[in-house]
């Protein structure tokens, strides 16, 4: 099980429905990944940053995470899913 944080850009001019895309991530990655809003002092396996366009340049360095994934376009979904699935696989191997 991976623990992930979710962060959205502000959403001033999104090119796709960020909330719906987040729901897609949750659905595809359940039950191997649990998402939550970032909390201070918690170290996450990864941070998923969903931005509505390419203009968001924030790193959100205050959020502690092993990896960071940036979904900046609707089409970014599948490549990110593949990378996270590799992380899940690695975790499962380690846990054996």
């Amino acid at each position: 099980m991976l623990r992930a944080a979710i962060k959205f850009c502000g959403g001033c001019n999104p090119r796709y429905d960020r909330g719906a895309r987040y729901a897609d991530f949750q659905q595809r990655l359940a039950p191997s990944v649990t998402f939550e809003l970032p909390r201070e002092g918690v170290h996450y396996d990864f941070l998923l940053i969903i931005t509505g366009c390419h203009a968001c340049h924030y790193e959100y360095e205050e959020i502690e995470a092993e990896r960071r994934f940036y979904c900046t376009a609707y089409e970014d979904f599948e490549p990110i899913i593949r990378e996270i699935e590799q992380l899940i696989h690695l975790r499962e191997e380690t846990d054996k």
Binding site: K7, F8, G10, G11, C12, R18
Partner: protein, 481 residues
């Protein structure tokens, strides 16, 4: 921070002395004419609760380190200034109306820095007073109306020269505990939905105007304050039996009121300027600058909705592929994004004030607002061009709900066969609402006169233009002297 529901409940506790259509309004929160404006204001609370918008809607207080609504935040960087504009665009998109909370944010940022500099020069304690007020606003997530525009009487005369001394808000009595003020502020956006009013002088002052150089904050339901609600075109459609399609925007709206101060008491610790005429102009210039920046965000968001509605009207009429339709939509986008460019530009070139908050580039902010006095009109003209005459000649919703008439309306107002006629009627009414109905107040005349009429920006542009440098450049190139 307050939730949307907590905010609405907090307004119920106010005891406003409000009049509309000649009668006292006992319950502004649930009044059908006022409620859409409350809903717009409430969106500033609602979106701050949503993680999808937190990055724009929430900031960290430089006073307490706590999370606060950005509308109560003192901008700490140019990044904060940019996020402010993006937040305003977002709210314009969500409401297609004026959401009213910007004026308080702009007033607070202006008074924050000007009180600091007034104290520095005059040895006063206004900044300390203001910080106490600000921290309460942030901690309790209060809604603040920023009140600048006096009714002004004879424009050729200064405040103290007017035939009626009350045409600019002024001090009428000073006591050991505070001052009493009298006068009126016009065009007060969002006052009815606010907990506090932050009053500022409306123009630069000179010796003799000391009683008029007054800035303070009091609760909106203070004794002596009377409010008269401003009429908007088509406002009574909201009171009709069928009030869905015809209003264009059922949920959101804006409002302005005339605010009368009749011997309103202001305690000493709520005073932020009191007679220091030299600093009245500083407050005016900074507030106007911030508010002129604001229009590069909010009106762009409203423009996004209008452009979308116009494109939908084209889709529904089957005209979307016509080259002139596509070109006019491109022109609308171009104009809208030009305003956004101005809002972002004046923010990115902001600078730190002595008090520590950030001020926009005043020249670029004034250029921004000057464009806002023009482009929304052209965008609205193009919207009306593409919407066609049906926008203003279609039957009423009452006719549409009449079983005998509905089949005729369904049949003869149909555009593309797959689109329900009611959908087409709704989109056309939305365009009507935004370009000549209740929302046009916010999108058009407010774009013209809000944050100062066009000439006010031209005066500022003239002052900031750095003309001598430009002449030097020309002299060098032309090899003169």
């Amino acid at each position: 921070m307050m939730t949307k529901e907590q905010y609405i409940e907090s307004l119920r506790k106010l005891n406003l002395n409000l009049y509309m259509f000649g009668k006292k309004v006992e319950d502004p929160v649930d009044n059908p004419v006022i409620r859409p404006s409350l809903n717009s204001f409430a969106a500033t609370y609602e979106l701050a609760e949503d993680p999808q918008y937190e990055d724009l809607m929430v900031a960290t207080s430089h006073l307490t380190g706590k999370k606060v609504n950005r509308f109560t935040h003192m901008h700490q960087s140019t990044d904060d200034l940019i996020k402010k504009v993006k937040m305003q665009r977002l709210l314009g998109q969500k409401t297609a109306a004026c959401f009213q909370r910007c004026v308080g944010m702009d007033a607070m940022n202006a008074v924050f820095s000007s009180t600091y500099e007034t104290d520095e020069a005059c040895g006063t304690k206004y900044h300390e007073n203001f910080l106490k007020f600000l921290q309460r606003v942030q901690d309790e997530d209060l809604a603040v109306d920023g009140a600048m525009t006096d009714v002004k009487g004879d424009r050729s005369l200064s405040p103290s020269q007017q035939a009626d001394p009350d045409l600019f808000v002024h001090v009428v009595e000073r006591t050991a505990d505070g001052v009493y003020v009298t006068g009126a502020k016009a065009h007060q956006t969002g006052f009815v939905n606010s907990h506090e009013v932050l009053v500022m002088p409306t123009i630069s002052m000179r010796e003799g105007d000391e009683d008029y150089a007054i800035s303070f904050a009091v609760p909106t339901d203070s004794k002596g304050i009377t409010l008269i609600y401003g009429r908007q075109s088509c406002d009574t459609r909201k009171l009709e039996e069928y009030n869905d399609i015809d209003v264009g925007n059922k949920v959101y709206g804006g409002h302005e009121v005339l605010v009368i101060f009749d011997r309103v008491f202001v305690p000493n610790d709520r005073i932020f300027l009191n007679g220091e005429v030299k600093f009245a102009g500083m407050i005016v210039e900074r507030f106007a600058g911030y508010h002129r920046q604001s229009y590069g965000g909010c009106k762009v968001g409203v423009g996004d909705v209008l452009i979308g509605a116009t494109a939908l009207a084209g889709d529904m009429a089957g005209s979307a592929k016509a080259s002139h339709v596509k070109d006019k939509l491109i022109e609308m986008v171009h104009l809208n994004e030009t305003l956004y460019c101005c809002g972002i530009a004046c923010s990115s070139q902001g600078t730190k004030t002595k008090a520590g908050n950030y001020l926009i580039d005043l020249l670029l902010a004034n250029v921004c607002k000057q464009n806002v006095t023009r482009f929304p009109y052209e965008i609205a003209r193009l919207a009306q061009d593409l919407a066609g005459g049906l926008m203003v000649t279609q039957p009423s919703e009452a006719d549409y709900r009449n079983p005998e008439l509905k089949p005729y309306i369904e049949k003869y107002l149909k555009g593309v066969a797959s689109v329900p006629t009611e959908d087409r009627m709704r989109v056309l009414r939305l365009i009507e609402n935004m370009t000549m109905g209740t929302a046009a107040v916010g999108y058009l005349p407010e774009s013209m006169h809000g944050a100062g009429s066009p000439q006010a920006q031209r005066i500022m542009i003239s002052r900031q233009a750095n003309m001598e440098m430009k002449k030097d450049l020309a002299r060098k190139i032309a090899r003169i002297g």
